[in-house]
Amino acid sequence: MPLSDSEIERYQRQLLVDGWDQERLKSARVLVVGVGGLGGISATYLAAAWVGHLRICDSDRVELSNLNRQILFTAEDIGKPKAALVAKRISAQNPEIEIEAISNKLTEANVSGLASGCDLIIDGLDNHSDRLKLNKASFDLNIPFVYGAINEWLGQLSLFNPPQTACLACLMPEELQNPEVTPVFGALPGVIGSLQATLALRYLMTGENPVSNALLIFRGDTMTFETVTFERRPGCEVCGKTVPFGPRR
């Protein structure tokens, strides 16, 4: 269906972008898991760009210590569920979007159901264990997975799309020794969340993956970006079975 005059006016600046495909974005369904510092930013930009359907999932409630970086929330929101708050915020920003707010905790049992029917998954999670669950669902359901993570001055980004690429478990297969509290300041998830949104929009419109088998690393202390490459791990417990040749562990 062609865009209305008011839609053309609202989105005129992005419609001028080379390669922009609003129809594809309007028909896209995206799951954002975790809507704190990372996911709150990426969900906001997807909504602003008019991605047609957002499913947002977060079981947490807003805490005072979130407010240095999770800029969608205010002190008045403390104690309230994040998923519902972000849904309300996004809905006010762009009423055209269908939004599902889910306040359930991500589990191995429900992750496939959460991702089912979506074209893309965006990771706004705060721990590696849940990321591995999301990665498994991404592989099982053949839904690309935009990964983003942070620690102190360091940010990481990739787009896993097995079997075309390796998966997160190829790169970091095991539970990690996380500190109890990870140091983080607000602008860093802002940077990585914005990059996740950029990568997601580009992928949804073109199918291109500029970080295929590559991890983009941002260092806020030196203001540098670096890309490191990786390969599929033949013994990967998630995607390794689909490797057509090569040694198995």
């Binding site: 975790g34 704190g36 970086r69 705060d126 590696h128 620690n151 790169l171 020794q177 260092r219």
Partner: protein, 79 residues
């Protein structure tokens, strides 16, 4: 031979950098894996989430060559 280990986050404190804020110079006797090098300098490899060398991701079994810089990344989290 000499290798340079570089780390950020909480790993940086464990590494005890001596070259610059992030980097430690380590003398290695013969050919050793990164796991063995870390053990020799009492850095717990459980805190190493990702290793990359010359733009490529490696694992703890990688044996660096003389003069290489090995970047160690701590576990990352979220927002």
């Amino acid at each position: 031979m000499i290798v340079f280990l570089k780390a950020g986050g909480q790993l940086r404190a464990m590494l005890r950098p001596d070259v610059d804020h992030y980097t430690r110079k380590v003398e290695v006797d013969g050919e050793k894996t990164i796991a063995e090098i870390l053990k020799d300098i009492s850095v717990d490899s459980a805190y190493v989430a990702l290793i990359h060398v010359d733009g490529k991701v490696k694992d703890l079994s990688y044996k660096p060559s003389n003069g290489q810089t090995i970047t160690l990344q701590p576990p990352v989290s979220g927002g």
